[in-house]
Symmetry: C2
Subunit: 278 residues, 2 copies
């Protein structure tokens, strides 16, 4: 029997959290360049989705270089970093603004959220998140859009909370059945596909099989790609253990999202509960 | 003895909430035009303020025309309004973005906040506000900037919460000693100064004297100016009764804010507790 077979079904009620990876929406090597043509395609796809939807976008080149310059990830150390906090937030806000504009033009009823307005972390992990406004906006039929952000931190003063962490946290709190990580690769591979032509895609993963795979993934943490993947998977494990599904798919391939949601068998990695793997 | 005399004093610790009126930061008659030269001057003044500071900006021509078109103030009535919610928020976000940029350039360590990310209303009044992130950002030395906004509403679905209401609410919750409403007039007049050359500025007002003035203010609600003033005063009354001070001053006059904070006797209206009027 095929492992984890999935049917197309009525999508109109369940909640999906879609992470728009920083590497998808920005040009990684260019400082603060937005991938407009790709996002236009994604917006077109999103306008056809009937599920309730929350979008979380990554920072890409709009966040990481500035945050690194001011060592924002280290937490508060000196006054000079405040400028860095402002600069990072200004840059991220401009990215959120561009995505909002573009989605609005494609009739996605988007509502921008600022993560730092409603989230507090403790040592880099989300500790207090006000989900009331998210829930109410969703129930009205709107599509909240937030991002990875510099967030106030009870231990560190401030910290960076990744879009990955936020996506999974919101899924837990709002009982979303599915988190989709939209990336620039097809999913999790058994070795780095950008280096090894024989790398093979792991199509289905469960908390049990993850433990076996961990040794393989752990070995290749030298590459950015795999590090990001390992982070997503680790972040997702508690959600999947509670019955959620996490999907990693390639958003750079046109119609991939739509095809996946229709139940088509596209190349991707599905991280599902052990009980669902038959 | 002069009524409500005020000394210049160490401003470094107390919290001031400054409302940047929509009529100050935008051109009222032009759709979505930002008053950049004026805001540059204000930013310059803000960079010299030593108090803790929260900024709340109004909507002006960036909010009211769109909100009116979609009847956002009426609350949720039909699906078509969702487009209006998105359009209003997109426009307001662009205004917040411009103010953030401009303040950051003048070295004001601003942190943009979205009111709708952390506030829930009930029948148009703020019912649940997550002030944790505001407090923590303030304590780091940052300057939160939020705005009047379309907010989720427990009774109406959504509603418009004015920057005035937000400013006073934050002052109460964060125990700010002072709210300053930056306007395009000098303060509250006994009749409309734009129509009556003999209108005289009310320099000091207390909850007690307000009751007497109410009849006068009530009579002239036909004018926008006075309506706005009446709203600010009514909104402020509970705060002042608890010992806070609310000031209405003209932000279109250069250096007015700085001079006021230095303790100079500029033309403005001060709304102070009865106990402070000597």
């Amino acid at each position: 029997m095929e492992a984890g077979k999935r049917d197309s079904r009525d999508e109109s009620k369940r909640l999906i959290i879609l992470k728009l990876g920083g590497s998808v929406i920005t040009e990684k090597d260019a400082h603060s360049r937005f991938n407009r043509p790709l996002l236009e395609e994604i917006a077109q796809e999103l306008s056809g989705i009937k599920s309730k939807l929350i979008l979380v976008h990554g920072a890409g080149s709009f966040g990481h270089p500035i945050a690194k310059e001011y060592q924002i990830h280290q937490g508060y150390r000196d006054l000079n970093q405040l400028r860095g906090v402002t600069e990072t937030k200004r840059s991220m806000l401009s990215l959120t603004m561009m995505i909002t504009e573009l989605l609005a033009e494609r009739n996605v009823p988007v509502v921008p959220f600022l993560s730092s307005s409603c989230m507090i972390a403790k040592a880099g992990r989300l500790a207090k998140v006000d989900i009331g406004p998210f829930r109410m906006m969703l129930n009205l039929g709107l599509v909240p859009l937030c991002s990875g952000d510099v967030v106030a931190d009870l231990k560190m003063g401030f910290c960076i909370v990744s879009g990955d962490q936020i996506a999974v946290h919101l899924a837990k709190k709002l009982k979303a059945k599915m988190v989709i990580f939209g990336c620039d690769v097809d999913g999790v591979f058994d070795s780095d596909p950008k280096k090894n032509p024989d790398a093979s895609l792991i199509r289905v993963m469960t908390p049990k099989t993850l433990r076996k795979k961990m040794s393989i993934l752990g070995e290749s943490t030298a590459t950015d790609v795999t590090k990001g993947m390992l982070g997503k998977i680790k972040e997702s494990a508690p959600l999947v253990s509670r019955g959620g599904e996490v999907v990693i798919l390639n958003l750079r391939k046109p119609q991939n999202l739509t095809r996946f949601l229709r139940g088509e068998d596209i190349p991707c990695t599905r991280f599902i509960p052990d009980s669902q793997k038959r």
